[in-house]
Amino acid sequence: MPTRAKAGAVSERQHSKLGDAPLPETYHLNMGPQHPSMHGVLRLVLHLDGERILDVDPVIGYAHRAHEKMAEHRNYLMFLPNTSRVDYLSGMIYNLAYCQAVEKMLEIEVPERAEYIRVICSELNRISSHLLWFGTFLLDIGGITPFLYAFDDREQILEILDRVTGSRLTYCYGRFGGLTEDVDTTFLDQTRAFVKRLRERLPEYHALVTGNVIFRGRCEGVGVIDQHVALAYGVTGPCLRAAGIAFDVRRAEPYGIYDRFEFDIPTEQSGDALARYKVRVAEIEQSLRIIEQAVAQIPDGPIMPDKPKKRFKPAAGELYFAVESARGQFGIYIVSDGSEIPFRIKLRTPSFSNLAAMPAVLPQTTIADTIAIVGSIDVVIPEIDR
């Protein structure tokens, strides 16, 4: 059995050796950008000693779409459709985060009802993202059936969101000050029914996957991201919480109306792929809790301010606004020069930092583990490349 080094032993190594003279008997393996188990268009250049990984060079940029350059060419409103395409799996969260950031710059008050709808939709989106991850992660490591179950449940969420927003994936639901469409009682009923349904399904997931010996064998002790590595690389989200740090932007820096809801921050101590799996599944349950509370408390009222602004012209200045996306801390850094067009929008995306930690995690593991590790990180490549 190949030995797995403790993460602490490799966490201090920081820089890739690609470009240096190859070590004797080092084998170079190129995984991706088209590879069955590389998510999207990630490319990893592995430097191997037999099956053992000596070093890894993630090569990114294959989905670079110039979001930040586009922001310099269009006004604040016209950047809206871009946001949900940065991370299309939690597009709703990104879209609303951008709205919230600009609202903060323009000092626009958002009606109560809109805030509640935003929370419900964001959490539904988070669950759909986690369900997709659940399916594809298991697909990567050889389980085909869970993929079909997870997508079935995910379709329920897409149906609910599609009914309101009109899109299945790349939502453009937020507007500065509110939302495009109000929800009706059918939406709330459907959401309640979905919460009930997923609560019944989760034990099935656990029986099918969590307890499975083969699955545990693939994941236990694999790809440990400990607190030291997490801090050094700025890892956030479920990967950080799996290392035992209960950091969640919804708690650390509450935005919107998240301070009104009761929820726990699930953590695990071991920091391995299994811990990340457990954290995400536990997060689905917490999201269901938030949705339940929000659906119960949602007030009546408008979803847009009485007198919506027509021109969005924030004063010169800068703003950093962070939200918790499905993958970690998503930050928007907006610099305004006082005109209608942003001077610069920088998107701090969680997968970027999470993937950057790979050179500290992958060495001393094996190729087969690489699949499980990269899968368990849950990266979305266009979000890294922007």
Binding site: R74, L77, M78, F79, L80, P81, N82, R85, T145, Y149, D152, E155, D162, R163, V164, T165, G166, S167, T170, C172, R175, T180, E181, E204, A207, L208, G211, N212, V213, I214, F215
Partner: protein, 197 residues
């Protein structure tokens, strides 16, 4: 317990555990076998599109005029982040308001954000219900939104022109009436006749 026996026991536990998880998984599969299938039989049964379903934009046909109400104000062209709308418009003869003469949308560029629908001052934009159009050519997705309105537009313009002419005539008549009070009843009758046309 010696190391060998422990290893043997562990091995046995692993094997039994694996067997158990295999059976647990199969049980779930078996249970799901008797559930109602979730597959949508797409080409046979069309999906029920939601009322807010977003797709390429289309023009609203208003009840009273039987035509669209695009006044070619170009606000949607200005706001569109994807540059997918192209409109041409001019003032029809005898009318004061501009009307669209060309309205093309390139659905291949569109990101269905809905900003154009938000800014439309006459609310004449809506989402169409196109969801499964495919083509062998890349230029097949430039939609001419005015095609279905050509006839209605001609009728509408004719009517509008008449109304405008009637209004103009009434105005002139009123002016004439002010100039010469004696002819006032006749002018009023004339304008009424025009309106009845």
């Amino acid at each position: 317990m010696t190391a060998t026996t422990r290893a043997k026991t562990n091995y046995l536990v692993t094997v039994l555990g694996g067997l158990f998880s295999l059976l647990a998984g199969m049980l779930i599969t078996l249970r799901n076998l008797f559930r109602r299938p979730v597959t949508e039989q797409y080409p046979k049964s069309k999906p029920a599109l939601s009322k807010n379903f977003r797709s390429a934009i289309a023009l609203v046909r208003f009840e009273e005029t039987q035509t669209h109400d695009c006044v070619a104000c170009m606000q949607c062209v200005q706001i569109c982040p994807s540059f997918c709308i192209a409109i041409e418009g001019d003032k029809p003869e005898g009318l004061k308001r501009k009307r669209a003469t060309e309205f093309h949308v390139d659905y291949a560029l569109c990101s269905v954000c809905g900003l154009c629908i938000d800014v439309c001052p006459t609310n004449t934009l809506k989402y169409s219900r196109v969801y499964d159009q495919v083509a062998y050519r890349r230029d097949a997705f430039v939609y001419d939104l005015l095609t279905e309105f050509r006839d209605a537009e001609v009728a509408y313009l004719e009517k509008a022109r008449q109304e405008a002419a009637a209004k103009e005539a009434a105005k002139q008549a009123a002016a004439a009436a002010r100039a010469n009070k004696d002819t006032a009843p006749a002018a009023a009758n004339a304008s009424k006749e025009l309106e009845n046309d």
